[in-house]
Amino acid sequence: MVRDKETIAAISTPMGEGAIGIVRISGVYAFDIAGKVFRDPSGQRKRKLRPWGVRYGSIVDCRTGEYIDEVLAVAMPAPYSFTREDIVEFNCHGGTGVLTKVLETVIKCGARLAEPGEFTKRAFLAGRIDLSQAEAVIDVIRAKTDSARRLSLENLKGGLSSKVSMIRESVLGLLAHIEAAIDFPQEDIEVLEIQDMAEQAGEVISGLNSLINLGKSSRIYRDGVSVVLAGKPNVGKSSLFNVLIGKQRAIVTHIPGTTRDIIDDWTTIKGVPVRLVDTAGMRKTEDLVEKLGVEAANRQAEAADLVIVVIDGSCPVDDEDKDTLFRTVDKPGIIAINKCDLGVKVNENNIPPYAGVKKIIQVSARTGEGIDELEKALGELATTEIKDAGDNPVMVNLRQLEALENAMRSMEDALNILNSIKTTDLAAIDIQESLFWLDQITGRSASDDLMDKIFGEFCIGK
């Protein structure tokens, strides 16, 4: 059987404890398979699910007939579905256990487990969505929070496409001027002077630049802001981590150096997804495993968007604290003076001036004191990181970002040529390259558009 004709199934809602989880089946046998596992309220098998109807019933194990879950079933016949194939979706009770069982029985009945992103890939291959949209769909799936989802939907409607199209139009216009002058030197046409071309190139560059910045900031919505907890051992980083995440995940002991590898988890602070990273305490150590952990911590601290430097407020600031503060001096963040319930021996005056402009907050991971204030400060910092995004930020994934950056670099090369040796046909090579990268996002081809532009713009004809 051709792989693409296989019917695939997967749990299409995020794993975890949600109220509802969806198992989706897509492909030519989707309806058959659904018929085998779905029973109506009277326990009868339904040969055919009514298209577009929502039907209440249950899922049973197709071999043993054992009851699995109470569900709502929705049937969407091809081609009016996401993948343009027959699709059935079972809305089950959330919870990994139940969902997995439903999926298992569906697979027993002939479906294949979908590869990651395979629904989207099928939608893409069926011509249902274009390149940038396909990636946006993946982004929807991966979106961690509501704000990120809103951004993704924006992109689905062509947010990025339309912004890139506008820039592409200027690039095409610039190229048309150069090409018309090259191809029709005997014509009496008014083409731009070199300095005007340079000016237009400059405008394209700044347009691309702001789109890149926009994209970079919106990436924070999708990929989250990474926040690393840093500090010497046993200042309570893991306790703070657990408080902020809201569950007991990091092992907490009183033995310094317990956290040896990197632990991270997601949380949402003020609508911004935050990837919180707990690290091994930053101290000089001879223990090889712990040493590796410390090195990893240093790398994490460097790569993170924000840092929370944790200091034990019950002891005086020592050299190891100062070392941590020094290492993180360039990173925006917060200084959390922990264990304030044990009596505060550290205040702002004890923090060395090179600690930078970090806000100092007294907290207690044990009593929860100051945690609200810490979250608020963190949320503010996270939003200042993305404040350039404005009201209508554009979702840009890494591949698109790379394409935009390549497009900008080529345009800068073109500008350089226009300003220096003023050879337009060389500049055209860079401009074409720039166009190539933009079309990696829009999925269009420039050659015919260029001809139309030339003939639409100039009166040519000897």
Binding site: L125, L131, D188, I460
Partner: protein
């Protein structure tokens, strides 16, 4: 049992090149045409070259074709255009003496062994029971048999001329149109499309008041179109430039009801780059004047071509129109302009080697394939001639890639995308024009021309010597180092450039914008005197090395799709997930590679992704069937 190996129908620019190439490769060729005077005629603008077209002429010459040599012997004026721009787009342009050009081409045909010329009007294409080409039948009832026919019928195919309200069946110049052939082609189930083109009035030289026009002199150049031509001809003629006036535009606007282009009489699309004066005035109403070029058609004759004034208005209005132009107040019109509609094939019906898909042995070249222009036609003729002989010999066809030649771009565009208007070559259609330039056409193609037997031994030896000199000099520039001392610093200052800290190669110095090969001589005392054509290539290749490298990367990037073959027997309707439009277009064009498939309009990137997936699953399945287990 055959009378000839190859019969070429039509002796315009395509037919002449096709017949010459095939005969030179050893085939026994019959070349037919409808009038002795129309051999290699220029029924429209009497000029050759310009951006895009000049490169094609160079490539024809590099492959051993005829056009470059003949224009170099017969032009009235030559110019090098685009000199203010980079070397990749410098383009020769020449005003032809159309009578001399025709005579010279006829001479080349006459002295060519293996080639028979015959004035005749072909009425029918003979097809045998195997649906293969079998020969032709003429109006006079003669039959000539051959396994291969090259059709190069130009605008004669179903030609209709329009002037004002009049229209009549005709080829250009009042030659009869090939109605019969059109019918025969139609009967074979071809899709024919109708294109339109037009030409300008010719006026009498003595009736022009040149004082009111601007002179346009030719250039003195140390080269010509052919790589064999050492320099410019003597005694170039002047061309002249004048402009339309607001009055001209008024005449057009008030007489639109008599313009076949605007009455609905003409339905075929015309070329956007060569619109009639009616179209220019109507589409660009803000322009208060348009250029009119006064171009002599022959050295001694009376006729002058009015470039830019293509029109099909009624003759009396044409007279009024011409008289409204400064310098032409008293002009006598010798022949009015007209529009002509003609049939062409849908070029996606032909293979990249110019053989018609549905009739083995039938090749087509020139306007019949939807192109416009003498150079475009000639290059296709040459390629059709070569491929016809290769087919006779049972050898692989000769197809030029887009990264190899302008001719490659031209044919690839035609057979892959088709065309919505008469197709003209332009440099902007070429992705890699910095690497496929007119100065290196021989480096790209002459080996091929020699292999085919189209380049004589003597010329090939000269070419190899030139190539060696270029390579040696490029190596010398890279390996010769200039010390970073005080003496050099002084010399560099004299050259107008900044000093160097460490020893630097001549090639690196040449990369600096302010340094050219000549000024480089100040620090390069030991250089040998090199011929101009060698220097030209050396300077471009070293000066633009960075950009050439960029383009090479682009070519490499494209090659990934270009080299992915699509099997000939693929059934697109069975490819899961392809859009219906893509199935239609792909089935029609039958692209041989994914690169070509991706260029077809209506085939989206999603379709290409689908195709990739399909070909990939096919591969995996084949491997599985063969018992390979490398999939796990």
């Amino acid at each position: 049992m055959y009378d000839y190996d190859i019969i070429v129908v039509g002796w315009g620019h395509a037919g002449c090149e096709a017949a010459l190439a095939a005969a030179r490769m050893g085939a026994n060729v019959l070349l037919t045409g409808s009038g002795w005077e129309t051999i290699a005629d220029m029924p429209c603008n009497p000029s050759l070259g310009g951006p895009g077209k000049a490169q094609i002429i160079r490539e024809i010459d590099a492959l051993g074709g005829e056009m470059a040599k003949i224009i170099d012997h017969t032009y009235l004026q030559i110019r090098l255009l685009n000199t203010g721009k980079g070397p990749a787009v410098h383009s020769l342009w020449a005003q032809a003496d159309k009578k001399a050009y025709t005579a010279q081409m006829r001479k080349s045909l006459e002295i060519q062994p293996n080639l028979t010329l015959r004035v005749s009007h072909v009425e029918r294409i003979l097809i045998n029971n195997e649906k293969e080409i079998d020969g032709i039948e003429t109006e006079a009832g003669e039959a000539y048999r051959a396994p291969i026919i090259i059709l190069a019928t130009g605008t004669y195919l179903g030609g209709t001329i329009y002037i004002g309200h009049e229209s009549y069946s005709s080829g250009p110049y009042g030659q009869p149109a090939s109605v019969g052939l059109s019918k025969i082609l139609g009967g074979l189930g071809f899709n024919l499309v109708r294109f339109k083109t037009g030409t300008s009035p010719r006026i009498a030289r003595h009736s022009i008041n040149y004082a009111r026009t601007k002179e346009q002199p030719g250039h003195e150049l140390p080269f010509g179109f052919s790589f064999e031509t050492p320099g410019t001809r003597k005694n170039q003629l002047l061309c002249h430039l004048t402009y339309t006036t607001p009055e001209t535009h008024n005449i057009i606007r008030t007489n639109l009801s008599a313009a076949p282009l605007y009455t609905g009489a003409i339905t075929g699309p015309g070329p956007r780059y060569c619109p009639s004066i009616e179209t220019k005035v109507m589409e660009f109403p803000d322009r208060d004047r348009h250029q009119i070029f006064l171009e002599p058609e022959t050295r001694d004759g009376e006729t002058v071509y009015l470039g830019g004034l293509s029109t099909s208005l009624p003759p009396d209005i044409q007279t009024e129109l011409v008289h409204s132009v400064p310098g032409l107040e008293e002009a006598e019109i010798i022949r009015p302009g007209y529009a002509i509609e003609y049939d062409c094939l849908v070029p996606t019906e032909i293979y990249p080697w110019l053989e018609v898909k549905r009739i083995p042995g039938l090749f087509t070249a020139g306007q019949i394939n939807g192109t416009s222009g003498y150079e475009e036609a000639a290059s296709q003729g040459l390629m059709a001639g070569i491929n016809a002989v290769l087919k006779l010999r049972g050898q692989e066809p000769f197809v030029l890639q887009r990264s190899q030649a302008y001719i490659g771009v031209l044919i690839d565009d035609l057979v892959t995308k088709g065309t919505q208007e008469p197709y003209r070559m332009m440099t902007s259609r070429v992705e890699y024009r910095l690497t496929i330039r007119q100065d290196n056409a021989d480096l790209r193609l002459t080996d091929k021309g020699f292999d085919f037997g189209l380049i004589p031994e003597k010329r090939y030896q000269m070419f190899k010597e030139k190539r060696m000199k270029i390579q040696n000099e490029l190596t010398r520039l890279k390996t010769t180092l200039v010390p970073g001392d005080k003496n050099t610093a002084k010399l560099l200052e004299k050259m107008g450039t900044t000093p160097i800290q460490t020893q630097t190669s001549l090639a690196d110095l040449l990369l600096r914008p302010e340094v050219d090969y000549e000024t480089l001589g100040i620090v390069d005392k030991n250089r040998n005197e090199l011929p101009r054509d060698v220097l030209l290539v050396v300077e471009i290749e070293s000066k633009y090395a960075g950009y050439i490298k960029k383009q090479m990367t682009q070519i490499e990037r494209a090659r990934r799709l270009e080299t992915r073959r699509i099997p000939r027997d693929i059934d697109y309707s069975q490819v899961y997930g392809l859009s219906r439009e893509a199935v239609e277009k792909l089935s029609e064009v039958q692209p041989d590679s994914l690169g070509r498939a991706a260029r077809i309009s209506g085939v989206s990137p999603a379709d290409i992704a689908t195709l990739i997936v399909h070909l990939e699953t096919g591969n995996r399945k084949r491997k599985q069937d063969n018992g390979d287990n490398d999939e796990t």
